[in-house]
Amino acid sequence: MNLSGMSAQRRAAVLLARIRAEGATAREVASAVVLAAAEQAAAHAGRQVVGCVAPVETAQARPSYRFRPSLVLGWADGMAPSPEDDPGYPIRRFSATQALAWAACLGLAWIDRSASPYPGESFRGEDVVDLLADIGVPSTWVKAALNHDLPLAGLVASDGEWLRLGPAAAALPDATVEALRRFHDRLPRPTGFADPGHLTAMPCAHGNRSSEEDAES
């Protein structure tokens, strides 16, 4: 699409539409002016543009689906819908297996309760399958959730053999994060999680050393 003749407001509208359509859009596609206009338009609609690192396609001839700085739409503070309080409209919910798979991903990625769950640590799908198999969840269903449902919802993203929390996890409303933080200790984790060395750990998950690695060294 040729956007050269468009005003910043119109480009911002196109950017927001693209983010909504793609789930996450590469940060580099928008100039600072357009991004500012998009943030303003999103705020007017009770939304906010959230930065994240996600596997996005770019126009350049680079390997596709690389993790790049990206943009995702979240809810402005206090504007997130609350279907639990108002059952007046239908919503789609995860099945119990999908919800458990998401809880396990969150439990493996979100180790430090005081920190934000995103971006968290990378983890292996096999660890999620083994973890949920221990509590009786069929592994085929867990694999289906990991390979299809959760990535489609943007909650989990695949990084080769590793999994990360996806762009939708970056855009979780604050109220949701706070509620999750309250039962952080109940998220599925392998027994003895206090020692992170028992898990298959990615050598350098996000290019930064985790606090646990720093403590060990």
Binding site: A42, I135, A153, F183
Partner: protein
């Protein structure tokens, strides 16, 4: 005592007019006795709101705060019991069993017997149902018409929360004035009733605008929409002016009614403004009813419709991941102990067991090799096989040697093979390259040597035993 300001619930004021008009509007065919919250397609308040209205309604005659039930099922039961009596065409009333049977037939499913018994006893104590004959031990009952009227009033409280009574009161006041036969005192009383009701609704709206959450204000505001109360009040004022010329007291009453209506309208507009402001900003689609959206889609100008979605962001319908559902899913699964279980025995089949076949073949092969070794030994303890191998040719020599090596390395086989280091090379023979080979038996007791010490015998296993111990 709390000094918190309190306002009068409009439903309490509505009660008098509602009771008075209940009989006029009674539908004895029972068509209005539908389930709570679903009356003839008209917009109704929620069950909770209806029961709240009822509590305010009966407050003037209640003996305690628990006089009104909080269970909507109790109200449904009363409706159905009344409908069973109303639909009954036979004379002589109904027995309790017949009422229960009629209730079950009406609902299509059995009613809670305990609840029915408890409520029927209460109905009898409060005279909602009365014995057919005023004597003891009568088992046939009829419905008290006052009770049916009371249910109809409840119905009307459930529709628009009682705002209908305001319109009804204005209609009645106009009707008595237009008829021209009413006296002055009755007109004053009608004007006073209308003004009081408008004032109470205005105060209630003012309170809700200032303090109520948006959804509560929206529910109240909806009860007041599409009402031409202003037109009704002004028409009533004109009738009073025309009918009672130069009557300062009536003029004053009519003016008071207009002022009350203006105050009511002002607070109603404030409620509408707050609903539109907050509801619009929150993109809450409940601000308008589905019928209003449909009407707007058909009748509104194109420019106006194009503004509707101007600031609406539409996302793909992603699953909602609320923490409560996540916790519920976690709680629904408990860690389990994994126990390995032996797979079930396969049913008997004609197919041979492949493992047993291999085992039999192995045993047969071992037996063949052992017999061949025994044959080579010819009953002796050891034998020189080099010449035998040389004569066996190729590949016979290799086959014999392989069999002997297998026996040598097999645990439990009493044979040992000694292979010498000296190479025997004969370019002309079938076996051109050969080492000296000697086969020995290990399990036969040896003759004691001259020192009298028993020589050990052994198999190819690591275990060494002595003759005396074996016996």
């Amino acid at each position: 005592m709390s000094d918190r300001p309190v306002t009068l619930q409009p439903d309490g004021l509505v009660r008098e007019a509602a009771v008075a008009d209940a009989r006029l509007n009674a539908d004895l065919g029972g068509t209005r006795l539908g389930p709570v919250g679903a009356l003839n397609g008209r917009r109704n308040v929620s069950d909770e709101q209806l029961l709240s209205n009822l509590r305010a309604f009966v407050a003037p005659v209640a003996t305690n705060a628990g006089a009104v039930t909080s269970d909507a099922e109790v109200l449904r039961l009363a409706r159905d019991v009344s409908a069973v009596f109303a639909d009954d065409s036979q004379s002589g009333g109904l027995t309790k069993a017949e009422v229960y049977a009629g209730l079950t037939a009406r609902r299509g499913i059995p009613c809670d017997r305990g609840l029915f018994e408890a409520r029927f006893t209460l109905f009898e104590a409060l005279n909602l149902v009365q014995p057919y004959l005023a004597k003891k031990h009568q088992d046939r009952y009829v419905l008290n018409p006052a009770g049916l009227a009371g249910l109809l009033v409840v119905d009307r409280l459930g529709v628009h929360g009682g705002v209908d009574e305001l319109m009804l009161l204005l209609d009645r006041a106009r009707w008595v004035l237009e008829r021209g036969t009413v006296d002055r005192a009755a007109v004053i009383e009608h004007l006073r009733s209308c003004r009081r009701l408008l004032s109470v609704y205005a105060a209630n709206l003012e309170r809700l605008v200032e303090t109520a959450p948006l959804h509560e204000l929206m529910a109240e505001q909806r009860q007041h929409e599409h009402r031409d109360i202003e037109g009704q009040v002004h028409a009533l004022n004109r009738l009073v002016t025309d009918r009672f010329l130069a009557d300062p007291e009536l003029d004053d009453k009519a003016m008071g009614l207009i002022e009350a209506e203006q105050r009511y309208r002002r607070h109603l507009m404030a409620a509408v403004e707050r609903v539109l402001d907050e509801g619009g900003n929150s993109l809450d689609f409940n601000v308008l009813s589905p019928e209003e959206y449909l009407t707007a889609a058909i009748d509104a100008p194109l420019d106006g419709l194009s503004e509707v979605g101007r600031h609406i962001v539409v996302d793909p319908p992603m699953p909602w991941t609320d923490p409560g559902a996540l916790l519920e899913a976690i709680d629904s699964y408990a860690p389990r102990r994994r126990m390995r279980q032996r797979p079930p025995e396969p049913p008997d089949a004609d197919e041979p067991d492949p493992i047993a076949v291999l085992r039999r073949q192995h045993d047969a092969e071992l037996k063949r090799r052992r017999l061949a070794a025994e044959n080579s030994l010819q009953g002796g303890d050891e034998v020189e096989l080099t010449s035998q191998l040389s004569l066996a040719g190729w590949p016979g020599a290799a086959r014999i040697l392989a069999d002997l090596l297998v026996l040598h390395s097999s645990r439990g086989q009493p044979f040992a093979l000694d292979v010498g280091e000296m190479p025997l090379i004969d370019p002309e023979a079938a076996v051109t390259y050969l080492h000296p080979v000697r086969l020995r038996r290990l399990d036969r007791p040896r003759v004691p040597d001259s020192t009298g010490a028993a020589r050990a015998t052994s198999t190819n296993s690591e275990h060494v035993t002595y003759d005396g111990e074996q016996r």
